[in-house]
């Protein structure tokens, strides 16, 4: 009853109560409902899919099993690869281009304010607008493909959004092996870093898990086969166009982030480094880039969750039916609202949520921890 005595606490609680209740129902309640739906067979029987009082049976993780190991859900598995590569190149592109632009602008060229606005401007457009413009520019017969003709070269032939070419193909059955391998190697790096930092306990735990994973990958990992046959997935070249448009839109934003970071680095630090005899290149490599690391992390988180959830850009650029440029969010929409497979759609939604959570939660955790430390 102590909090009751403190009137401020009571008022504070009352003020946040409405948003707590609304969030509880409309965010967490619906997340739970979606998750529950994904464990049922809602939509499996057409007679029950859209009836007024559908009879829904609990089927456990059947939908997930089908998505990852079922015969007909190859499209979902390819979509996971698409999301992975899209996220990778989108983040790399935005960070690279954003950092370059920020460094150039930071050196104070003429008309800096003008260029800053120009580079930041694409961000103020919605993805639908960006998508529509780029859709026109990437038409096979026109736009970008016509550019070489300006300098007398033959017209480009690349099918920007329609190409069916796929590179870096991997069999879905090899995926558990590769995942374990990559995670194991990452853990080994974590262990090495921990030992160098003097955190012995953490180091040993990381070494242990890395060893276990690698051992599993090399012995049992090959025998785990989700599919009875090899199903090849890879990077769809049609995604290059989408990545181009997305980087065009968001790199201005990373530029702004980096520019703020660069401006926040005190001039004294640079001067001190120069006095110590650092070359310009060393100055950036040893002083400025390490100081920009937290900004890189924030940018990666923000860009990462945009790219995992991307829907509108691709919807506008290629439509929901163009399989070479499909992503899980689009598939979720089609599965739920066209095929009436409501439970399977919910399962895809849940997987998307988990993917985004895997990016966001560690970030929030580290942020909260550092705040407490402060």
């Amino acid at each position: 009853m102590r909090w009751f005595k403190n009137k401020d606490t009571l008022y504070g609680f009352l003020v946040i109560l409405p948003s707590l209740v609304l969030l509880g129902i409309f965010v967490y309640g619906f997340i739970f409902q979606t998750f529950y739906t994904s464990l049922t067979d809602w939509g499996r029987d057409p007679a029950q899919a859209l009836s007024a009082n559908p009879q829904i049976r609990f089927t456990g993780f059947e939908n997930y099993r089908e998505l990852f190991g079922g015969f007909v859900d190859a499209r979902f598995r390819q979509d996971l690869f698409n999301t992975f590569y899209f996220t990778l190149f989108f983040i790399l592109g935005c960070l690279g281009l954003g950092l370059t632009l920020a460094i150039v602008l930071d050196r104070g060229p003429k008309g800096e304010g003008f260029f800053r606005t120009v580079f930041l401007f694409p961000m103020s457009l919605s993805f639908i607008v960006t998508g529509t413009i780029w859709r026109w520019m990437l038409q096979p017969q026109g736009g970008v493909n016509q550019l070489p003709t300006l300098v007398g070269l033959p017209r480009g032939e690349f099918g920007w959004l329609t190409s069916r070419e796929q590179i870096w193909q991997v069999s879905w059955n090899d995926l558990p092996f590769f995942t374990a391998l990559v995670v194991g190697v990452v853990l080994a790096f974590v262990a090495a870093a921990a030992f160098r930092g003097g955190e012995r306990r953490r180091g040993w735990i990381a070494t242990g898990s890395a060893g276990l994973l690698l051992l599993w990958a090399l012995t049992l990992g090959r025998t785990l086969q989700p599919l009875p046959f090899d199903e090849m997935h890879g990077f769809n070249l049609a995604f290059i166009g989408i990545i181009l448009a997305a980087v065009w839109q968001m790199s201005g934003y990373t530029m702004a982030l980096y520019l703020a970071g660069l401006r926040g680095i005190p001039e004294e630090l640079r001067e001190a480094a120069r006095v110590d005899g650092a070359s310009e290149w060393q100055l950036y490599l040893r002083v400025i880039f390490p100081l920009l690391a937290p900004i890189t992390l924030s940018a990666m988180i923000i860009l990462g969750h945009i790219s995992l959830k991307i829907f509108d850009l691709i919807f506008a650029m290629a439509g929901p039916d163009n399989a070479p440029t499909d992503v899980p969010a689009l598939l979720m929409y089609i599965t739920t609202f066209r095929a009436n497979q409501i439970a399977k759609g919910a399962a895809i939604g849940t997987i998307l949520l988990l993917l985004v959570a895997a990016v966001i939660v560690p970030y929030l955790y580290s942020q909260l921890k550092s705040e407490v430390r402060r």
């Binding site: 499996r44 057409p46 859209l50 009836s51 007024a52 015969f71 190859a74 499209r75 039916d321 066209r338």
Partner: protein
């Protein structure tokens, strides 16, 4: 944003004022080119029932891709529109009738004397367990091949009669420097081509058996469809996925391609938008191997259970099914009337020929346009197409199609 708020407010007000009746909400995806046809029907309705306020709830998007999603949320949310547009056949039965969401319209059909005004094949298609659930307003034909007669004369070829002949003609045209004799467009038009190939290869009997489960998709006969389809695709343009169906038709009109397989809304596009004369500016033939068979699709209106304005909705259905209503709607829409007694003089040359075929040909239903398979199969058929296009493996595609058919209990 403002506009949205405004519509929201209007919708809220609308639901408040329900008590006064005198309203009718029509839900469809007819906007743009097809808007005037719907408006003609609504105008007729207003003339008959001046006191009823008609709300035209249109959700744009070709073939109703967006409208269907909105409709589902409304139906699940317990707010059905008074009457909605739906493709006649399994798209209605497999989704809404089996879910017990529609009213039986058999009494309306008997009362209006429609039982022998619509062809029997069509009535069978809109019936489920002997009851009729929707009123078809128009008929489109899916298996039509379009070309430009003057160009064909120039190249010295005839419209092919079978798919084997088509492949020969394709080689001839390729040798004359035509890179892609067949013009093809985005995803769904590829499936559209598939159904014409399937009908041509299998024939009407076996084609129909696919949808009743009597012929399995992995039967050698059905696998052969994919093989032919693959060779037909080799005659098509490589940038298909980037083109809308109109752009694919344009390729034929520009002489960059010789043929295009598309539903007969293409005739509407070429006469209205392009200003061409049927028979001169463009010619048509049944898709190869499908002469004497009319692969139909039809838009229809049904009556959901629990609507707010049932009497008005029934009046709407009476109008939609009447000769007057259909003859007002169809010439504008570029389709023919579902009734067999409509007035040919109101239609152009292409539509008159389609009407003759409609009355004499064998009728089968379209897959892509919702007549023969439920949505759950139809939308996953895109995945099958994907498996085929990326692997070019006929057996794998056939197996996937059968797996999906089992999963959605096709034909059961």
């Amino acid at each position: 944003m403002r506009k949205w708020l405004f519509t929201l407010a209007a919708a809220a007000l609308g639901s408040l004022a329900l008590a006064q009746s005198g309203r009718l909400e029509i839900f469809s995806w007819w906007a743009g080119d097809e808007g005037p046809a719907l408006q003609a029907l609504i105008d007729l309705y207003k003339k008959r029932y001046p006191n009823v306020e008609v709300i035209n709830a249109t959700v744009t998007g070709g073939a109703g891709v967006n409208a269907k999603a909105v409709l589902k949320t409304r139906m699940l949310g317990g707010d059905p529109p008074d009457s909605f547009q739906v493709h006649a056949g399994q798209e209605l039965t497999g989704t809404w009738v089996v879910a017990d969401r529609m009213e039986d319209l058999t009494p309306l059909f008997q009362q209006e004397g429609w039982m022998n005004r619509f062809p029997k094949g069509l009535i069978d298609l809109i019936s489920y367990k002997g009851k009729i659930y929707s009123v078809p307003v128009n008929i489109h034909r899916s298996n039509v091949m379009w070309y430009v007669p003057a160009k064909l004369r120039e190249w010295g070829v005839q419209p092919p009669k079978t798919w084997a002949e088509f492949l020969t003609v394709c080689q001839t045209l390729k040798s004359k420097g035509l890179e892609a004799p067949l013009a093809l467009g985005e995803n769904w038009t590829q499936q559209h081509l598939w159904e014409s190939v399937a009908l041509g290869v299998l024939g009407a009997d076996d084609y129909s058996k696919l949808w009743t489960g009597q012929l399995r998709f992995n039967d050698p006969k059905a696998v052969a469809v994919w093989n032919t389809f693959g060779r037909v695709l080799d005659c098509a343009n490589k940038d298909a996925s980037g083109l809308s169906w109109q752009q694919a038709v344009d390729r034929v009109l520009e002489g960059k391609a010789a043929f295009n397989i598309m539903g007969d809304w293409a005739a509407g596009y070429m006469t209205t938008t392009k200003g061409l004369k049927p028979g001169e500016g463009f010619g048509w033939a049944p898709a190869p191997g499908t002469a004497g068979v009319f692969m139909m699709l039809s838009d229809s209106f049904g009556l959901p259970k629990g609507v707010k304005n049932r009497t008005n909705a029934l009046n709407w259905l009476r109008l939609v099914g009447s000769k007057e209503g259909q003859d007002a709607f169809n010439p504008l829409k570029g389709s023919i009337a579902a009734r067999t007694d409509s007035d040919p003089s109101k239609y152009n040359a292409y539509l008159q020929s389609a009407m003759r075929d409609w009355r004499s040909n064998r009728i089968v239903g379209s897959l892509v346009h919702g007549a023969v398979a439920p949505e759950s199969f139809m939308s996953q058929f895109g995945t099958v197409m994907e498996i085929y296009l990326s692997s070019r493996n006929a057996q794998a595609a056939a197996n996937a199609a059968q797996a999906i058919a089992n999963q959605v209990r096709l034909g059961q």
